[in-house]
Each structure stands twice: as C-alpha cells, then as structure tokens.
C-alpha cells in the first residue's frame, strides 16, 4: 500500500521535474548553468542593507551583480520576484539530519576518526524539509556523547542529486567536541570514565597529550630519515591520533558542544594550553555570562533562540543570550540542532529582534553569514554579494516574522524548491533516485 503510494508519488515527481524545467527553461544541473536574473525583489543582502526593487544577476551558479540597476544579457532567464523578499540561503551551523540515527559512536569518549560523511543518508527527506524552509547549507555534526567526536560533513541541500553532488565543495573540515552532561551521562551510566566533569576534561586532556606524543614520534622519525638513517622504523599510522594531531596543527575547525559558563572558560583554557583554536561553542546557553572572554578569544557561538530547561545545564538559558553575546562582540549564529527547527530558522532568528533588539540585518546574519563563518564557508555563502554562490531564497511574506515562507530556493543558481509546484515542489527530485 505504502509502496504503491510512493511509486505513484514517483510518477508525480517525475512530472513535476518536466513541468519545472519547462517553466524555468533550464537544463538539469549536470549541464552548464544558465544565466538567471532575479528582478523586482527586496534584496536583503545581509552585509549592506536592503535594496528595494533590486535585482540579482547569476551566472554559472555565482552572483555576478547585485543592485537596483543590473543589466543582464537577453538570454538570461528572468525570474520576477513580484516585490517579494530575497535573502541569502539559510545556513544551519548545527544539524544532525540525514545521519540515519548514526549520530553518536558512543562506544568510546574519544572518536575523532569518525567521518560523518560515512553515515550521510543523502536521501533523507529531512534534507528536503529544511530546504523547503530556506536552508541551503548545513553542517552535519557528530553527536555530543563523546568529549571528542567525529569529523563533520558540510552539505548543500540539493535534494534529488546524488550524494557527492550534495557535498559543499572546498568546505573546511570541522570536528565536534562535547562537554558537560552528555558525555558524563553516556559513560557514567556504563560505569566508565568519564562520569563527572573532572572525568570529562581528564579524558580530553589525556587524548591531546597522546596526540602530542604521537606527533613527536613522527617528528623524530622524520628527522632520522632526513638525517639519512635508513634503519629508522616508522611509528604506526593511527587514524585517531592523526585526527587529533590535525586538531593540534590547526587543520580542523573545533566545534564544541558546551553549555555552562565555567566549561566555556575551561575549554578556552585547554585550547590555550595545547595551542589549538576554537571556532565556535555550540548551544552555549550561558554565553551571556562570559561573553567578554568569548569575544576576546574570537570564538563564535551557535545557539538556540529560546530553547531551555530540557536539562540541568540548560536551566540558566535565557532568550536574550544571542543578543547579549553579540553586543559584547561575539559572532552569533542561531542553529537548529533538530529536523524541526531547521524548517523555520527564519522565525527563530526573528526572535532576537524581540529579545534584545537585534536589527533586521543582525538577525538575518545569525542564520546566514555568521553561521557560514562558523562552518568556514563565509567567503562562499551567507550573503548576497558579488562572487558568492547563488544560494538564494524568495519569500512569501516577511522572512523575519511568523509569516515568512520560502517560495523558491536557489542553490548555485538552480531552483531546488518551488512551492508553487505540485507534489513535493522539487524540480530535481524523482522518487527512488
């Protein structure tokens, strides 16, 4: 019964595919991109204000021109936004969707060699549902069971394409660390180390010391080889140690799940002690208590707008956290951490206007440019600027409100979601692909 239904949907989706391409006059994404001119939009650039009656000219998937008067060749496909808002695609800096419940390798508190791409279930409809909410880029992270979890994968929400076509080209590597209740609960319940915050940090410190030893062994070996010692035996290649060494070498962006103010400080102290940099604290619900120190260390936060009270370390969460931290100079992103919130991050960001008085552009940045910075792709996405990827959303209603919902979502200049289409609204999607 269900299968028959799915098959029927497949037929519908196939039709949509054809209809869509007829409507846009585009070729499928495998071919070269056509030129697109989106005109008559209120362009919310996220970096240089709004442009009413603005246009964006897209060529080969990149933004080539933005402004009131933009000229495009007659061959460009024209999309009339009808006076609607146009924003950058939303960037979700903390997500666990499309991992088919393989979020945590909760068998050891140190698993930096885990690669989330190995679990990436690119056909998960959660990718589509977030896309329909305007999300174009997501950071898929390991869970928070382990003090040192696995390495993240950065995706573009090109639902309907194959797995590798959905990976964000050239995105830097990120690694997930965690602290606080989750590791101590997971291992404590098995009567293993760690079961306390002392244990948590001891495990983390020990792993980093091991990595230092590992690096020293290799340095010594390499020095011997360089000196012409032909009998030198190489140390064992250890994936786990390699990953940690990459943390110490600064080759990985460190993303830390961390709630309490004291732990934010401890993590920063440990990074200093071992000489690595932190990119962002995730959740960071007590960032408002130590925002000065976060700003001084140039550590961003990926936080919730107003989610609280779900556990002890979320008890001091306040909805003013994002704006209070931002006013102290912290780069703040609002993230989903859930398949549900990912569908309406625009509303979550809008809450910062109410709680603390963020400006429209500040609120928008929290789900675009700041989130892109946390992932390390702010040179490619996160704002409507020349040279950036043409990841764009045309909205029905004002996006920073209860009423905004995406009409069309472009990724690299192609439409991946169009609400007006029947069925799923996805031009590139065929059931069963």
């Amino acid at each position: 019964m269900a299968n028959r239904f799915v098959r029927r949907l497949g037929v519908v989706a196939g039709l949509i595919f054809l209809v869509a391409w007829a409507a846009y006059g585009q070729t499928p994404p495998a071919a070269t991109h056509n030129e697109v001119l989106i005109k008559n939009a209120v362009v919310m650039t996220a970096t240089h204000g709004n442009i009413t009656n603005g246009s964006v000219y897209i060529k080969d998937g990149k933004i080539v021109a933005v402004g009131k008067d933009v000229s495009a060749p007659a061959s460009a496909t024209v999309v009339d936004a009808g006076g609607k808002y146009l924003t950058p695609g939303i960037v979700d800096s903390h997500s666990h969707i499309a991992l088919d419940h393989d979020v945590n390798e909760a068998t050891s508190p140190v698993t930096p060699q885990m690669m989330m791409i190995d679990a990436f279930d690119y056909q998960d409809k959660a990718v589509y549902r977030a896309l329909a909410g305007g999300v174009t880029t997501s950071l898929l992270l390991h869970g928070s069971a382990n003090m040192i979890g696995g390495q993240a994968v950065v995706i573009k929400h090109k639902y309907g394409l194959n797995r590798d076509a959905m990976l964000f080209p050239g995105a830097p590597r990120s690694i997930k660390f965690a602290s606080g209740e989750n590791p101590k609960r997971v291992y404590g319940s098995k009567d293993q180390l760690p079961s306390t915050r002392m244990g948590n940090f001891a495990v983390q410190r020990e792993a980093l010391v091991q990595a230092q030893d590992y690096m020293r062994e290799w340095d010594e070996y390499n020095a011997k080889v360089k000196a012409g010692d032909k009998d030198a035996t190489p140390p064992k290649h250890d994936l786990k140690m390699e990953a940690l060494a990459d943390v110490l070498r600064g080759n990985l962006l460190v993303q830390i799940h961390c709630y309490r103010a004291d732990e934010l400080l401890t993590e920063m102290a440990m990074a200093k002690e071992f000489g690595y940099k932190l990119r962002a604290f995730h959740h960071a619900l007590e960032a408002y208590k130590v925002a000065d120190q976060l700003a001084a260390n140039n550590v961003g936060i990926a936080t919730f707008a107003d989610w609280w009270g779900y556990k002890q370390e979320a008890w001091d969460a306040i909805p003013w956290n994002a704006v209070m931290a931002m006013r102290k100079g912290v780069r703040v992103a609002i993230k989903s951490d859930s398949g549900d919130f990912a569908r309406r991050l625009n509303q979550e960001a809008a809450k910062t206007i109410r709680y603390g008085g963020a400006t429209e552009e500040e609120a928008l940045k929290m789900i675009t440019l700041n989130a892109a910075w946390i992932i390390g792709v702010d040179d490619k996405v996160g704002s409507i600027d020349v040279g950036k990827d043409a990841d764009l959303v045309i909205w029905q209603g004002y996006p920073l409100s209860s009423y905004g919902l995406p009409d069309k979502v472009f990724i690299d200049g192609d439409v991946y979601f169009d609400r007006s289409l029947p069925g799923f609204g996805m031009p590139h999607y065929k059931e069963g692909m």
Binding site: A2, V6, Q312, I318, Y403, G423
Partner: protein
C-alpha cells in the same frame, strides 16, 4: 453514588477565590483585538474587580472616577491566550526525573490520576509562560498511557495551586497513537503490546466501569426502597410482629454499598457523557479506531493532534467535534509534502471544524501564538488563528462565558503588546490576570538583568 457525585461537583466547581484587584484599571488608546466583535482602534478597556466592565471606542466608554488610567496608545490589546494542552506545573527540568510528575507508567489505565495533585504553582516555567501573554492552560499528563489521568484547567497567576486550578478534572485524555504499547524491549514485552491489545484493554475497562456504575445504581435503588419502607406507615404496622420474626428484621437492614473503586469511579462522568474525553490519534487508522471506541461507549469527545490523518478530514468534519490541532511542527512523514501538517489548521477550518492550538509542552508554551501565526501563512484566516488560541479554546473547555475575548462580564485577562500577537517579533509589555497587573519578571529576566549589570 450521590455522595460520589457531590464530590465530583465540588471538584468541578472549585473555582478561584475572587481576585484582589485593588481599584479599577483603564487601558486607553490601544488597538483592541476583541476576538468576538472585531478590531477597535483607539479603544478603551475597563477592568474592575477582576472583570472586564467596559470595552469600546474611546469616545463611547465611560471611565470610572477612581480608576488608574494607563495610556496604551500605539499598543495592541487582546484577551489572554489559552494553551489547550501543556504540562505546566508537572515538570521543571525535562531530563531531571525528580522534577517531573508527568505520567504514571506502571499501568496504561490510570484515570484516577489527577494532575491537580501534582500541579506545582511555584514552577519557574509559569512566569516565563505568562510573560508572553498566555494566561490560561490545560494541564495534562504525558501521553504514554491510554488513560493517563484527568486534565485541569489552570490560570497562570495566583497565590497558590487552589487559586490557579480553575477547573479540576475538566477532561480525560484517551491516547491512541501507538506510543502507549509496552513493547520495548522485545524480551520484556507484556500486555498490551499491540493496538489490538490497547483497544481490548480499554474496552474491558469501560465495560467494567459501566458494570461498576450499574452496581452503584442498583444500590442506590435498593437504598431508596429501604428508606421508603422504613418511613412507610403501612409498613410500620408490621412492626408489632417484628420481634417475632428475625428474617423480616434482616430485610429492614439498609443495603450495603458496593466497594469503591477509584479507577472505575473516575471513568463514570465520561461514560455518562458529562465531561469530554480528549481523543488523541495521529494516523488515519488510529483516529478511526479511537473514534469507534468513543462512539461505542457514547462518549462526548474532542479530537487531539490528528497530524497525519489528512486523508480523513471530511470524516473529521462530519463528526462535528472540535480538534486540538498539531502541533503543526510535527514533522511530516516521508511520503508527505513538507507542508502537510502546517496546512492542517487551514484545511480543518475550511471544512468548518472548530480548532484550537496547543503547545503540547511546558517550556515552550510561551511560543503558542507563533503556531497560530505560521498556520496563517499556510492559509488559515488571521481571525480564525487568533480565535484558536483564545475564544475557541475557551468554548471547547466550557469557559466561553468567562474567557477568550474582550467582552463585558468576562474575566479581565488582558494582554498589552507592541504589535501583532501572532508575530515572533512582538514584545508583550504587560499582562493582566483577573485585572491584576502581573509582575513582568521571571527567573529569566532576573538572570538577564543580573548579567546586564542592572
């Protein structure tokens, strides 16, 4: 039986002590969203002794002389919002078991659990919630039992639990979503581990309760006969022979009452159609099974959730019962379009179904109005969205004469905000509950102020 009903009556009528509103308060110059009779620009609301005593355009309303007049020009004024299902007062920190009194998991059939016995009036969640204009809520046990216990209707302000529990045992949830099975882990599986089992168990319970009620009715009848015989003068004539006849004397003994069973007793008002059952189902098949059960036992019911029953909306409309919808954030199934659940409120409204929204939570109850707002983006008319968190909810819970709109005679639960109540950007400036100015502080505002150097 009569004594039992008296107890129920007292429970139901246990309303709050009249509020201590000191003097009349007048809100002048705001945009009034009355809900019942449209929008009044530059309006006036008068609150006296906890009630709304006047509502209307500034020019037409007479202001009491001793009133405290508050200028709310530029503000939007609307009735307190009602959340039609929460766990407020039953939880503090989700992951900390000792702070939770959500549901008894020892058995599926627990109708004799009363949330008022656990309702924690001093919960830190309550000020957080009311600061966003939510003034009233249904408090329900968690839904992991088919019959987890009875709901209460509360007011989110008051000196004590008795003052805040406006109506105790207002309704009985009946959950049939498939989540009530005791089927994990498989080697520890016990009855009921299937939907058949859950339905059979419910049916047997209802039959037991009907029998129980019948035993009490029989007893009441016998007792009445006995009283009648005892007081009948013609019967008294026989008393002359009484000492000679011990068997006759036995007959004159009052009948002994059946043993009380709190579990079955709790079900009687629902089996007699005196109070509503809140029938929760998500899928189309569960919805039909649940409705079938309710109809089989002639229960009065409202529907709850029905998020994935899109194929049955005409059937739902034909039942002519209200629906507590959503939450609309319930994620669609893989085969459903992204907006399948978002658009449910609009689709129900189109079919003439009365709907109300609920947070189905506690910490996020404050976000209730945004569900209503988002539903308008998917086609629900704005006025209907606002009604679904005010007047519809009040009417569904039998409080339509007291709450849900800005009307003379209603409880003065009034919210003043800087704009559209359904928009996430709107800041609530002042909440009045029973005419009292609620302090606009919570644990969260105190933390904010502490770390802002205030």
């Amino acid at each position: 039986m009569r004594r039992f009903w008296l107890a129920v009556g007292i429970g139901t009528l246990f309303c709050t002590v009249a509020a201590a509103q000191q003097k009349p308060v007048v809100l002048r110059g705001g945009k009034l969203l009355t809900v019942s009779h449209g929008v009044v620009e530059n309006g006036v609301v008068v609150m006296e002794n906890g009630k709304i005593t006047a509502v209307g355009a500034a020019a037409t309303v007479r202001v009491p002389k001793d009133a405290r007049v508050i200028d709310v020009s530029g503000m939007t004024v609307y009735p307190g919002l009602i959340d039609s299902e929460t766990q407020l007062g039953l939880t503090e920190i989700q992951a900390e078991d000792m702070t939770n009194d959500l549901v008894e998991t020892s058995d599926e059939i627990m109708p004799h659990m009363h949330v008022y016995d656990a309702f924690h009036a001093e919960s830190e969640l309550i000020p957080v919630t009311r600061l966003n204009g939510i003034t009233n809520a249904i408090v329900a046990p968690d839904n992991t039992d088919t019959l987890p216990g009875q709901d209460s209707f509360v007011q989110l302000y008051g000196k004590s639990a008795p003052e805040m529990l406006l109506v105790r045992d207002i309704a009985l949830p009946l959950n049939f979503t498939g989540d009530q099975r005791r089927n994990e882990p498989p080697d520890k599986r016990k009855f009921p581990s299937t939907r058949m089992g859950l339905a059979a168990q419910l049916r047997q319970t209802f039959i037991d309760a009907q029998d129980y009620g019948q035993h009490w009715d029989d007893y009441e009848k016998k007792k009445a006969e006995y009283e009648k015989t005892k007081n009948d003068p013609s019967a008294k004539k026989d008393d002359k022979d009484a000492k000679a006849d011990d068997k006759d004397k036995d007959k004159k003994q009052p009948p002994s009452p059946p043993k009380r069973d709190l579990k079955l007793e709790a079900l009687l008002p629902y089996l007699q159609g005196k109070k509503p059952v809140v029938l929760a189902a998500q899928e189309a098949n569960d919805l039909q099974t649940a409705v079938g059960l309710a109809q089989e036992f002639h229960m009065k019911f409202v529907l709850n959730h029905i998020s994935h029953a899109q194929s049955l909306l005409d059937y739902v409309a034909s039942l002519k019962v209200p629906v507590i919808v959503g939450p609309i954030y319930e994620e669609p199934k893989p085969e459903e379009r992204y907006d399948a659940v978002y658009s449910l409120p609009a689709e129900l409204n189109k079919r003439g179904v009365k709907i109300a929204f609920a947070s189905f939570g506690a910490h996020d109850s404050r976000n209730l109005p945004y569900q209503a707002g988002y539903a308008t983006a998917f086609g629900l008319p704005y006025d209907e969205a606002l009604k679904a968190i005010t007047l519809n909810a009040a009417e569904i819970w039998g409080m339509g004469d007291q709450l849900g709109s800005l009307d003379v005679g209603k409880t003065a639960n009034v919210v003043v905000s800087n704009g559209d109540p359904l928009d996430v950007k709107t800041d609530v400036k002042q909440v009045f509950i029973q005419g009292q100015e609620v302090p606009m502080t919570s644990r969260q505002t105190r933390l904010r102020d502490q770390y802002s150097g205030k």
